[in-house]
Symmetry: C2
Subunit: 112 residues, 2 copies
């Protein structure tokens, strides 16, 4: 994954509402969530939500499909994996995060 795309993805996630949206979409899985539902759940006006969804889409983190009147957003797991891989390889000392915190274990396992 090229740095430019990684930067866009990080920037896309570095915002309260967008991080919350992405978390919801990750939980929702392939089924996805309509834009309007996301707006309502987070208490954000539709036009603002649209702006944020555009940012996420532009970073490649979400995909969209139309279903009747709704436009349904889904998380792009592959893109997220790409970001995680980049960070692991370039920003974690090249250590494959073996028994350290990264892979799902609680961070204070690092209690050296």
């Amino acid at each position: 994954m090229q740095p430019d795309l990684v930067i866009r993805a990080l920037g896309a996630l570095a915002q309260e509402h967008r991080l919350a949206v992405f978390r919801l979409l990750v939980q929702a899985g392939a089924e996805g969530i309509p834009a309007g539902v996301l707006a309502e759940r987070l208490g954000v006006p539709p036009s603002s939500m649209s702006f944020h969804l555009t940012q996420l889409a532009n970073a490649g983190l979400v995909t969209q499909r139309r279903e009747s009147r709704s436009i349904i957003y889904s998380a792009n797991y592959a893109a997220m994996n790409g970001v995680m891989s980049y960070l692991t390889e370039n920003c974690c000392g090249g250590v494959p995060c073996d028994d350290a915190a990264i892979c799902g274990l609680t961070p204070d396992r690092k209690s050296a």
Copy 2:
């Protein structure tokens, strides 16, 4: 790690120069790199570099120590691990990711 700090860390890394700085610091290890050397290596004016280093420090991603006239920056690995853990747990479908790549499989938790 609380979401607010995660957002600040993501925002700190979502910038060309800062991502480059952090990568250099990760490679440098505990020894760290002086601010001036970072500025020169990346071709950024000292005042601009200072701005970016402040952002990184404010996000908790780097630490600084004075050594004679130089101020030496080092990567905070624990903070980075905290960010990775948060993303793995909240943005990768909760999959423990240790038998996939980072989180290489789409969670078909919707299988019911």
